[in-house]
């Protein structure tokens, strides 16, 4: 893994690529959603913070922050490149609870991000073919355009492949 030619996706950010790949680092409770069209070799990656845009205080917000706005935007961007919704497959990583015992709603954000992603992908009929979510640790991920493979790196668990 760790090849060159990777487009960096920041926190609350998303992007698409047709060559090389995409990467995002330091996912905690945030979730990394990777979509892939194997025929066109088009990959998309979003680093999403919160489950629902209903949390937004105003209407002019960055769609990559919320699961329910990031996934449709990611699909749209991939379709612009020539991907087709019916061919898309998803892989999910992240959605951890970084600190085990803290109070309040904020602490359930990780699992809620995962749940919301799954519900939404189901609505779009996009199968989830790989998943590494939950736990109490951070992850960095890379998706490669030529294979669709997602590599997941964490401090204590080494590298995983989805």
């Amino acid at each position: 893994m760790m090849s060159d030619n990777m487009i960096k996706v920041g926190m609350a950010d998303l992007n698409v690529a047709q060559t090389g790949g995409l990467k995002t680092t330091g996912l905690g409770s945030c979730i990394g959603v990777s979509l892939y069209d194997a025929k066109m070799k088009i990959a998309g990656l979003a680093h999403v913070m919160l489950p629902s845009s209903e949390l937004a205080r105003d209407t002019d917000f960055n769609p990559a922050k919320f699961v329910d706005t990031a996934i449709p935007e990611l699909i749209r961007r991939m379709e612009v490149l020539g991907a087709q919704l019916r061919r898309l497959e998803a892989k999910l990583a992240g959605g951890a609870q970084m600190f085990a015992f803290s109070e309040g709603d904020v602490l359930r954000i990780g699992p809620r991000n995962v749940e919301t992603c799954k519900n939404l992908l189901k609505q779009f009929n996009i199968p989830i073919i790989g998943e590494d979510t939950g736990g109490h640790y951070g992850r960095s991920i890379e998706v490669h355009c030529d294979t669709g493979i997602v590599y997941i790196r964490s401090v204590h668990q080494g590298v995983k492949e989805l």
Binding site: M11, A12, T25, G28, S29, K65, M98, V106, R139, H156
Partner: protein, 195 residues
Amino acid sequence: MDVLKEIGNIGAGHAATSLSLLLDRYVGMLVPRVSIVRFESLSDCVGGPEQVVAAVYSRVSGEVSGHLFFLLSVESAKKMLKNFAGLDVAPGDAYSEMERSALCEIGNIMTGSYLTSLADLTKLTVHPSVPSFAVDMAGAILGHGALGYGAVSDCALLIDTKFVGGTKEVDSHFILLPDPESFAPLFGALGVRIG
């Protein structure tokens, strides 16, 4: 901004004194840095999102609420355990139960000093949660503190105070991310009006 710097200054000043006592050596601090940073740049002050750090985290609640992180490099945390707690420390990233609870206790003392000064300065109530400990990527750790900002903005307000000593082993950061809802009481208590 100057007012917020003062919060970092006074809070961390007391924490630095506590740390000096714990380590039995001089611990100084740099002028606090108050910045409004985009989410992806949160961890730049400690070396980027993938930099591995040891963190003692407290959720702060009360009239002022937010997230308080005491961050150390992995080596600093190990040295602190050896010098202060007198523990026989194994090298590497793993921490035993004993080491984790010793670091939590150090973090607890430091957090207590920081928040007591903050409460004295603002006359507002603040309560820290029981601290929790993690060794992980800085991005994943500090991202936790930014969640509350997600609903209102693409940036977070970060008050960062760096500790320095004669030697490298005390290099550490105190990072306070006040909740957006706390700006008004915080500024109000310090005599600053916000529109």
